[in-house]
């Protein structure tokens, strides 16, 4: 999780993509079909609050990130306070509290992948996307690269995620092909 003070431990992957972002206008998400989608979700749980994680996923799917306005909308539809919603959002690393590049690239560097050369994969992505640094979006707004903890696919080192797509067995040599394939 990302909001605690890790005894002053710097956490480069989190530094910029977790700081709150700002937006000028906001289009509500839970109308029409999406509202119906939420209503169906609500039938699955005995409390409204339990639909919070799924509702936040919907906000991120529709807007690309979870802004303060997004949190306020979720709070409204689930009868929660915006402060409560924010407290939950900040616990989980997958909700973007800041706009990210069109392609959000996460590379696993935990030890099992680390001993198979994951760090070189990170370097290749940082260079070839021109993002340069972890958590920083490339000048053309296309790419954000972060290191991520174990993706649960350690036998396929190095696994990466690009947005919702999971790619196994990435090597420094395959990075250019993967990037070229992105629309």
């Amino acid at each position: 999780m990302s909001t605690k003070n890790m005894g002053g431990l710097e956490s480069p992957d989190m530094a910029s993509h977790d700081s709150p972002g700002h937006e000028t206008s906001y289009t509500p998400v839970f109308t029409g079909d999406v509202r119906k989608e939420l209503d169906t979700l609500l039938t699955r749980y005995p409390t409204k609050m339990a639909a919070l994680l799924p509702a936040l996923w919907i906000i991120q799917r529709e807007h690309g990130w979870v802004s303060e306005n997004g949190m306020a909308e979720v709070a409204e539809v689930l009868d929660l306070t915006p402060a409560y919603v924010k407290g939950v959002v900040t616990f989980y690393t997958m909700y973007h509290q800041h706009p990210v590049g069109k392609y959000f690239i996460q590379v696993c560097t935990t030890s099992p992948c680390g001993v198979c050369g994951a760090e070189d994969v990170v370097k290749a992505f940082l260079q070839q996307t021109k993002a340069g640094e972890l958590g920083v979006t490339s000048p053309d707004n296309k790419y954000t690269v972060i290191e991520v903890e174990c993706l649960g696919a350690c036998g396929f080192a190095t696994p990466i995620m690009i947005n919702e797509e999971f790619i196994e067995s990435v090597t420094p040599d395959s990075v250019s092909t993967i990037l070229a394939r992105l629309p």
Binding site: M6, A50, P54, F91, T110, V115, C116, E149, F166
Partner: protein, 437 residues
């Protein structure tokens, strides 16, 4: 089978039999392979009879702790008038572990079926499968399997035409290792921060939504289907050593080894044969140096210990470690242990939920000091400090994440001390990784 590699003749493929077989993913394909007969059989039994068969089989939890599954189920009291819940733990975030992912993406119906049987056995009408947010592909296959099962009347208000209600839903996590801890999982499912809860009350008394709850790992639930079909005796027969460990077990093997993948062998299999024969041994020109056999949270084994291990719950303990989740991380002689342990500590520091001081501060300071040693800036005193912090982090917190961070540090310093000292004394470390750094 040793997915993605071809099956090794010494494996015993029970749960992994259909890995790589795309047809097994569909309802029709699953039924052709004998699917949903176990559920049909279960729904014709009483919940108590099911619990007894599972108890008799000796099945123990495959999520890490190895708690006897039948006993866990017997804590639930069907018919006490309260809603009961089953949570299937598919958070799989323990570094080195990726077996549940294969079960879900190759045999999603095995999970649906196992959940349905488990739910019925504990008197639950609703089961949630909590899947880590990054598992987009397993989530897709599970959702698809559930849709098929609902459409076929296997699930729902009248499951398989028996008049019993069994609803199963996928709940997607959002990036937090700690949500694999059972009480954190329940909080997360309720729409809260994933902080572990203080026990007691135990989940069987007051779990998710304050109601009696059972949490089981994906592999545990999937194993219930063959047990019901083939019987407790058959399951107990899969045991080469200690009768307290029965059945087959999936191991996800990764790191510096010839054929990383997911393998299934019976309890008591020789770890030496497993590593050198079944998984192909070290990559060319290298030698194994150490193994972390049960996911990042268990003690590191030297090769001497690993080669003397019989693969069951007791066997790993007898050789200085634990079976854990079955996530086997193999480390060869080109690696530097300090580097690996420092990176594991960073993992735990990142994933600590920060409720407990010993864990929040301990994981962070452990990481700082280890990284200092890794970078050649450490002192001999640092080793004592690390051991002191590790002792403080053990047995003192709400959940065992704190202990898990201390574990590789303690076993690492004890078993691989010369590598720490070499870095402290500025000696050249014989390691490819160190040369790269």
């Amino acid at each position: 089978m040793g997915y993605p590699h071809t099956s090794h003749q010494r494996e015993t493929a029970v749960l992994s039999q259909y890995f790589g077989d795309t047809e097994a993913r569909t309802l029709d394909g699953w039924k052709k392979r004998g699917g949903y007969q176990a559920l049909e059989k279960a729904l014709g039994m009483t919940p108590a009879d099911i619990v007894n068969v599972v108890k008799e089989s000796g099945l123990r939890g495959r999520g890490g702790a190895g708690f006897p599954t039948g006993m866990k189920w017997s804590f639930m009291k069907p018919g006490d008038g309260k809603p009961h819940y089953l949570c299937c733990n598919a958070d799989e975030s323990e570094p080195g572990t990726f077996k549940d992912r294969e079960i879900m993406r190759w045999t999603p119906h095995a999970v649906v079926e196992g959940c349905a049987i488990g739910a019925y056995a504990i008197g639950a009408e609703v089961a949630y499968i909590y899947i880590r947010g990054e598992f987009t592909e397993p989530i897709m296959w599970m959702e698809r399997a559930l849709q098929e099962a609902y459409a076929a009347g296997i699930l729902g208000a009248n499951a398989m035409g028996t008049g019993k209600r069994i609803d199963i839903y996928v709940h997607r996590g959002a990036g937090a290792y700690i949500c694999g801890e059972e009480t954190a999982l329940m909080n997360s499912l309720e729409g809260r921060r994933g902080n572990p809860r203080i026990k007691p009350p135990f989940p069987a008394v007051a779990g998710v939504f304050g109601q009696p709850t059972t949490i089981n790992n994906v592999e545990t639930l999937a194993a219930v289907c063959p047990i019901l079909m083939k019987g407790a005796e058959w399951y107990k027969g899969m045991c080469l050593s200690n009768p307290k460990s029965t059945g087959s077990k999936l191991y996800s093997v990764c790191g510096n080894i010839q054929y990383p993948g997911t393998y299934e062998v019976v309890m008591g299999f020789s770890f030496k044969d497993f590593l050198y024969d079944v998984c192909g041994g070290p990559v060319k020109g290298r030698k194994f140096k150490a193994v972390i056999p049960g996911g990042a949270s268990v003690p590191i084994q030297t090769m001497e210990e690993a080669e003397a291990t019989l693969m069951d719950y007791e066997g790993f303990i007898a050789q200085g470690s634990m079976l854990g989740s079955g996530g086997v991380i193999v480390i060869d002689d080109a690696q530097n242990m300090v580097r690996i342990i420092a990176r594991l500590a960073r993992f735990f520091a990142h994933e600590s939920c920060a409720q407990c001081t010993q864990c929040r501060e301990g994981t962070a300071w452990t990481t700082k000091i280890l990284e200092r040693i890794r970078d050649g800036q450490g002192t001999m005193e640092d080793l004592d400090t690390l051991m002191g912090i590790a002792n403080n982090m053990t047995g003192t917190t709400i959940c065992v994440l704190s202990d898990s961070c201390a574990t590789p540090v303690i076993s690492g310093i004890k078993k691989f001390r010369p590598e720490f000292e070499a870095l402290i004394h500025g000696k050249r470390v014989h390691s490819v990784m160190a040369a790269v750094a």
